[in-house]
């Protein structure tokens, strides 16, 4: 029974990882590609670690596998936030069908800070992505 559960979790994790890399290759721009890479990739690796925890079913190994899952779930959003901020602040080209860009003209180059409160009234209008 344990083997069946391990096998199902493994195949699910492998499929999620494969879908993540497929989206990495096929999706149209950097920000959209990050959507595939970080979420599906972390989910796939986490599922494989849970399968590992069920395979070696003993206290030390299972605890280490669960600690690895926790570590992946903690670090993947942080890394994704940093990459997304760097990509947006370096004026990466958005997809041509992007029709709403709520952060347009809010990245200050001098300090690297986003100013969302100061000109929030003008940013609620949908703007073209290339107007940054």
């Amino acid at each position: 029974m344990n083997e069946i559960l391990t096998a199902v979790l493994l195949i699910a994790g492998g499929l999620f990882s494969f879908i993540a890399s497929l989206g990495m290759l096929r999706l149209p721009d950097t920000i959209i590609r990050m959507h595939a890479a970080t979420k599906a990739g972390a989910l796939g690796a986490g599922l494989i670690f849970i399968a590992l925890a069920f395979h070696h079913f003993e206290l030390a190994t299972t605890l280490r596998a669960l600690a690895a899952v926790t570590f992946i779930l903690l670090t993947a959003p942080v890394a994704a936030h940093l990459i997304g901020r760097a990509a947006y602040c370096s004026k990466v080209t958005l997809w041509e069908k992007t029709w709403i860009d709520e952060l347009a003209n809010t990245c200050d180059w001098r300090t690297g800070e986003f100013e969302t409160e100061k000109n929030s009234t003008s940013e609620t209008q949908p703007t073209k992505g290339d107007d940054r």
Partner: protein, 105 residues
């Protein structure tokens, strides 16, 4: 070898093959990515896939020490991604301040 062990072996092999194909696809994006941020995202995905590959390989060979390798690799990969992202942002900041200086002049 009974039925369940055979099923687990086939599932592990399928998972390893899927992860290898995934690493190849992400590596193509690492090669062709138009922006440096694309390459950083691809590198992050490759390292997370390698962590999953190490965990799946630990099941395949029934060896527990690959789990420690996977945890250490995940830690180092996170540090590398953070360093590359900070570098990209600092590069953009320097270029942006150079452009605004030119506009002021």
């Amino acid at each position: 070898m009974n039925m369940e062990n055979l099923f687990l072996k086939i599932a592990t092999e399928i998972t390893l093959i899927l992860l290898m194909i995934g690493i190849i696809l992400a590596f193509i994006r690492l090669l062709i990515g138009p922006d440096p941020a694309d390459r950083i995202v691809a590198l992050d995905l490759i390292s997370i896939l390698i962590v999953g590959l190490l965990a799946a390989f630990s099941i395949y060979t029934n060896e527990k020490s690959f789990l420690d390798v996977a945890i250490a690799y995940a830690l180092i990969a996170f540090l590398g991604t953070v360093a590359l992202a900070r570098y990209r942002e600092r590069l953009a900041k320097q270029r942006g301040s150079a452009e605004t200086d030119k506009e002021i002049e």
